[in-house]
Amino acid sequence: MRDIRLLTEMFIPGALVGPFTAANPGLGGVCTFVGEVRSDGDVEALELTHYEPLTLPGMHGLATQAFARFDLMGLLMVHRVGLMRPGEPIVCVSAAARHRRDCIDAVDFCMDHLKSAAWFWKRERRAGAWHWIEPRKDDHRDLARW
């Protein structure tokens, strides 16, 4: 069961994860990561741009890799694009598996690759001015783990 979405509007992770869990009967574990816009001091808003001909195929490709690598029953991968405020969810990845290790590792794997390899560009508005966010060194280090 694979559910990959790009959303342009605010979403409630629990409203996706509950039905996702129910859609994978017989599972042993579900691991979920939700990333939110951090309220970092003076950040007023975050905007995520994407290049549509690459973004969704990229997310499906990543899901295919995760299914090949881990023993999964289901994978939910939801990403916001557009304008977001601090406290709003940006990304939700949830993996259902018979065993704990597969679902935790699959979420970890998808997040590392979404952060650094998916086609999103992020900028923050602080004091009324927009600033692009560069990839962090940590993200490359995280990717090298796999």
């Binding site: 979404l114 086609w119 560009w121 692009w132």
Partner: protein, 80 residues
């Protein structure tokens, strides 16, 4: 008809917008020659990727775009 050039991330700022129209056919040198100066300089950054009609190129130098094609200039991503 022209060649549509889509600019992502900070490259859009350098171009003053997310899109340009150039006249085809275009190879990499022809594309760079047709870009505004600030963007032309940034475009050569080896971390930038290029896609034609949604397909990434392994090597920018292999770019060949005709009238009606869409070129995307993609700076390093910062998702999640």
């Amino acid at each position: 008809m022209g060649v549509r050039v889509v600019l992502l991330g900070k490259l859009a700022d350098l171009a003053g917008g997310g899109e340009l129209q150039l006249t085809g056919p275009l190879d990499w040198a022809g594309l760079v020659a047709g870009l505004p100066e600030a963007l032309a300089q940034a475009a050569d950054d080896p971390r930038n990727k290029v896609a034609v009609n949604g397909a990434l190129l392994a090597d920018k130098a292999s770019l060949q775009a005709s009238e009606g094609d869409e070129i995307a200039l993609l700076p390093p991503v910062s998702g999640g």
